[in-house]
């Protein structure tokens, strides 16, 4: 091994890297919150909706789950601007890469979160819904106050796992040259000719962040088994 390491580029470039990390975390936060909200609505529609709605949501979920995320990002990056131009009639309209990425991740992740929430709703016993309706709750408040809280509780580990996957997937915005953590690191590394140190550092940071998520999942599952509740993930 004759490579001589020089970690100075990290020390000099950390403000730029921090900006990249902020962008990554921003993408994760937005896609997680919007994705879980939309995914939960989709799951409700898929379980309780009328037949045509069930078929439509199933189609939506299968579409997003069967194409690579990179292709989804390309759809929104290359196809969203012309669609919006046609819709608004404004020929000069542009969509920033960040908005394309947010749209792509929110919609794609909502398909994955939908499957998790559907399993979560399925893990709540039938009797709970019947009892809530018998007590005079409307269908909506039975969902809101009885079924969904239990579904969320049962599915917390899976939701965290999916969010860890989302954190890893946000690195794919590299393909549209967005300045996320990996993008910032790449630019810095190419400027200084220090790809080796930079990519090893990037891998270590992602490993640390994802390990936090894994540790949290293990902690929650251990606590649940101790409490004697069957774990569902």
């Amino acid at each position: 091994m004759e490579y001589s390491f020089d970690w100075g580029t990290l020390a000099r470039g950390w403000p730029y890297l921090a900006q990249g990390m902020a962008m990554t975390l921003f993408l994760v936060a937005v896609a997680m919150v919007a994705g879980i909200l939309l995914g939960t609505l989709l799951a409700i529609a898929r379980v309780f909706g009328p037949k045509p709605v069930q078929v439509a949501t199933a189609g939506y979920v299968n579409l997003f789950r069967s194409v690579p995320l990179i292709l989804t990002i390309f759809w929104f990056y290359f196809l969203l601007p012309p669609v919006l131009r046609m819709a608004t009639g404004d020929p000069n309209l542009t969509v920033g890469g960040i908005y394309s990425a947010i749209a792509a991740f929110t919609l794609a992740e909502s398909a994955y979160y939908c499957e998790i929430m559907r399993a979560g709703i399925g893990s709540v016993r039938n009797g709970q819904m019947h009892a809530a309706l018998a007590l005079g709750l409307t269908r909506w408040s039975a969902l809101r106050y009885v079924v969904l809280p239990q579904a969320f509780r049962n599915m917390t580990p899976s939701l965290i796992n999916q969010t860890v996957a989302l954190l890893k997937d946000t690195s794919l915005v590299y393909v549209i040259s967005l300045n996320d953590f990996l993008g910032a690191a790449t630019r810095l590394a190419q400027r200084d000719g220090r790809l080796v140190e930079m990519y090893l550092f990037v891998a270590a940071v992602y490993l640390g962040l994802c390990s936090l998520g894994v540790w949290l999942v293990n902690f929650l599952q251990k606590r649940r088994t101790q409490a004697g509740v069957r774990s569902f993930s």
Binding site: V67, P68, L71, F74, F78, P82, C210
Partner: protein
């Protein structure tokens, strides 16, 4: 502003002289299928070894495979790919690194993606195999040991045949993930299906047709795999288990 749809674009010659546009998509699909099949077969092998190693009594084997699985599951595939492509050749002995850099670029790209995708997918497969092994009732292990089977025979004849049949359904979605993940190849210049569809959209200025075609191809292949696996699953179901 109006978009003029032209579905016959696929039957026109590429402006860069690479043949017809449909040939570009077909070539891309070829790379995608080749990559995902090769890495899935290799990943199954490595994943089985790593998954078994996590359950054996030997402490060193458990720790090594545990560290491998943790590290490769918890870093982005794209970062791993860049490490294999940009970092590893620098850290190898100079003669090896030079040999890699002087390779035919296409082979270099293909082998790099193959290594990255295989090791990433093998870590996931290892987790499935481990879960399958742990779902085999302990009584069977004790019974096999009481009958005088050694560790190798125990895994070979009792645990693994059942474990594989139990984890077949999750393995299907793992394979589909490999198939989708192979799209990262375009970041180092290997033009698989997603990469070719982007090129097609740029060369022909018909982005909608290009991306719709790629989407349809991905969905068709995914659906075909699901149908095939559903058939295999129904044939290999372990009798007496619910939904397994």
């Amino acid at each position: 502003m109006n978009y003029s749809w032209d579905w016959f674009v696929f039957f026109r010659q590429s402006v860069t002289g690479e043949g017809y546009y449909w040939q570009m998509l077909l070539r891309g699909l070829g790379w995608t299928v080749l990559l995902s099949l090769c890495s899935w077969v290799l990943a199954l092998g490595i994943g089985t070894v790593a998954g078994v190693a996590r359950t054996v009594p030997n402490r060193t084997a458990r720790i090594v495979s545990g560290v491998y699985v943790h590290c490769f599951r918890n870093t982005p595939l794209l970062v791993q790919l860049f490490i294999w492509y940009f970092v590893v050749p620098e850290l190898l002995p100079a003669s090896w690194g030079d040999a890699i850099k002087q390779m035919n670029p296409l082979w270099n790209q293909f082998l790099t993606v193959l290594v990255a995708l295989t090791l990433y997918s093998a870590a996931k497969a290892a987790e499935q195999v481990r879960a399958g092994i742990e779902s085999v009732p302990r009584g069977q292990v004790h019974a096999a040991m009481a009958l005088g089977l050694r560790a190798a025979a125990l895994y070979r004849h009792v645990i693994l045949p059942q474990a594989f049949r139990i984890v077949l359904p999750p393995m299907t979605s793992d394979f589909l993930n490999v198939f989708k993940n192979s799209a990262v190849a375009l970041t180092i210049g290997l033009m698989e299906l997603t990469g070719e569809s982007r090129q097609l959209s740029e060369f022909s200025s018909q982005p909608f047709e290009a991306f719709v075609a790629a989407t349809v191809i991905y969905m068709v292949v995914t659906y075909a795999v699901i149908l095939l696996m559903r058939h295999i699953e129904s044939r290999s179901r372990v009798p007496g288990l619910l939904g397994a």
